[in-house]
């Protein structure tokens, strides 16, 4: 069966990076339709009908987000593309921007038209500077062809699009931190409300969307929202880019129709190609470092015994007790030789390093979690540390201005929830734990619930 690919169908054609090759393969068609035959609100309506959900991690319905943009003032409105891609395990937007930059530009133009935006920015993480140059060249080409600038395609619609680099801060993927950063400040998230749709960049109504989300818009305009909604499963419509990494045979970025079984995604040669070296699957982080880790027994089937699917709903089935999240699609696979304590310590170090420092539960709590996990991993842990760790993460979750606190707490909570035996082993056998890994432990046991 040939798989439907909305974003990546032409991605391996070298010509697709340039504007001529992109147009030859059907690019920029959506602008003819949107700008000449549709009203801005009709575009938003199609996006609503498509059921498209934000691909940055939160999965919020895009059409609904757009409908929140405040139109009651004469302030300029802004569309910001979040290309800050920095959730560990996530490297999908990079592929789109590097190989098919005009898809993002076309999506930005169509989306800006829908929102009544006259100036838009792509905020790209600073480490992707080489991609910024690719985007800049594509933007220059689009200006030269009349897709950007004054009176696009001879219509009354005009748009300026700029690309703006970050400086190396994970927090700037949070939309209000991104706005602060674009204003030339530290990336400290803002208290909401007011939401950016009302008061965002320079106090003006602003929408922030992920790269992959924006790249879906041309298809939705060309084929219609209903056609998009037919793809996928239930409320998980369309396709999703999954960036697969860790101990698998074929790491890389795969565009899947939502609803593919997790088992097929891991073991089929079409996708991850199974666990490297024929080893056992120990654990999975399905949606970027922030989402709960799943032990082997909850990866391919849910606690109810149903097949686990690659969809927002199925991956979350069972709540945090036995489920996880689709998140950004950063799919991290752990084989039997990996140590959950070590990995959790590693992630905690990441969150400690990246905390903006604004809220004390996060600023202090991430430091404590790193410290406690460091001593557990290095053979100096005490049994009560496990409960202390649980206590610290619980005091961070929900007690911060932005979701970063939750993102730092969830991986720790899930690791203790599912791999407590491995933490205890580190305390009971500290010498042993520095020499070898724990192995599969309870993670492989069947579900008893």
């Amino acid at each position: 069966m040939s798989r439907l690919k909305i974003l990546t169908e032409h991605i391996n054609k070298p010509e697709i990076t340039g504007i001529e090759g992109y147009i030859k393969n059907g690019g920029y068609r959506s602008l003819e339709k949107a700008l000449k035959k549709m009203q801005p609100d009709e575009v938003t309506e199609e996006v609503k009908k498509s059921g498209l959900r934000g691909r940055g991690g939160a999965g919020f319905p895009t059409g609904m987000k757009w409908s929140f943009i405040f139109k009651g003032s004469d302030k300029p409105r802004y569309l910001l593309c979040n290309a800050d891609e920095s959730e560990p395990g996530t490297f999908k937007d990079r592929l789109l921007m590097e190989k098919i930059p005009h898809l993002l530009i076309e999506g930005m133009i169509a989306s800006s038209f829908a929102l009544g935006v006259r100036t838009a920015y792509i905020y790209i993480r600073g480490e992707y500077m080489y991609i910024l140059h690719i985007l800049q060249q594509a933007i220059d080409e689009a200006y030269a062809k009349g897709y950007l600038g004054e009176n696009i395609l001879g219509t009354s619609y005009s748009l300026d699009l700029h690309v703006h680099p970050g400086g190396g801060a994970y927090i700037c993927g949070e939309e209000t931190a991104l706005i602060e950063s674009l204003e030339g400040k530290r990336g400290n998230p803002r208290i909401k409300p007011p939401f950016p749709a009302v008061e965002g960049l320079w106090g003006c109504p602003t929408i922030v969307n992920n790269v992959e989300t924006i790249c879906k818009v041309p298809f939705i305009i060309n084929e219609g929202g209903e056609a998009y909604a037919k793809i996928g499963i239930g409320a998980s419509t369309g396709t999703k880019l999954i960036s697969a990494c860790g101990n698998i045979n074929k790491p890389g970025v795969y565009e899947i129709e939502l609803g593919v079984p997790v088992e097929e995604f891991i073991y089929s040669d079409e996708y991850c190609g199974g666990i490297k070296g024929g080893k056992q699957l120990k654990a999975l982080v399905p949606g970027g470092s922030s989402v709960p880790i799943l032990p082997q027994r909850l990866i391919t089937t849910t606690a109810k015994g149903e097949p686990r699917l690659m969809s927002y709903e199925s991956l979350a089935d069972g709540g945090f007790a036995t489920g996880s999240m689709l998140g950004s699609g950063g799919f991290i696979v752990f084989d039997e030789d990996q140590c959950v304590v070590r990995n959790t310590w590693n992630f905690s170090r990441f969150y400690h390093h990246e905390s903006c420092g604004q809220c004390s539960p996060c600023r202090e709590g991430t430091g404590w979690m790193e410290k406690i996990l460091h001593r557990l991993e290095h053979g100096h842990g005490r049994m009560e540390d496990i409960d202390l760790l649980w206590d610290v993460q619980r005091k961070i979750e929900g007690n911060t201005i932005c979701p970063f606190g939750d993102a730092a707490a969830w991986p720790v909570a899930a690791a203790i929830r599912h791999f407590r035996d491995e933490f205890e082993w580190h305390v009971l056998q500290p010498q042993e734990a520095t020499r070898r890994n724990y192995g599969m432990g309870r993670s492989a046991e069947p579900v008893t619930a």
């Binding site: 920095s86 600073g126 400040k185 990494c245 470092s289 950063g330 991290i332 992630f347 990441f350 390093h353």
Partner: protein, 169 residues
Amino acid sequence: MIETKNITFSPERLAQVQTLLKRYPEGKQKSAILPILHLAQKDFGWISVEVMDYVAGLLDIQHIEVYEVATFYTMFHVHPVGKNVLEVCRTGPCMLVGSDNIVKYLEQKLNIQDGETTPDGMFTIKTVECLGACGYAPMMQVGEKYHEFLTEEKIDQLLEAFRQNATQL
């Protein structure tokens, strides 16, 4: 080490700065701070207080506004660094496939620790957090370039190439 005297952009750079400033509305020129700091780091090697003050002058903002930004974003080196900064990713997905060993190998080979610079000023090792190359790990960034699927052999070749060119690949 690169000395930070003569902190002034070339006329070409200054023209580039003017183009950057036009991207933001009147009175919002502070937005150009990150793009300009990137240019400054390229030209001056690292972001000294003198560089920060110079950028503040270009943008007509308070010095402190540049200090707090330059020290918040980890890409900016606020201390002198070597000619080639080897930024090795150490986050989870890279660790799963051996980034710890890559760091150790570099430390051994260059006889410096993470965060240090070789006495000849050629290399600095800096471990960094996730660079978005998890499927092509282990990896390091040097200048603007990503070097992926690192092995000890590949590192040997890269270090040799950096030494030969004495510039960034």
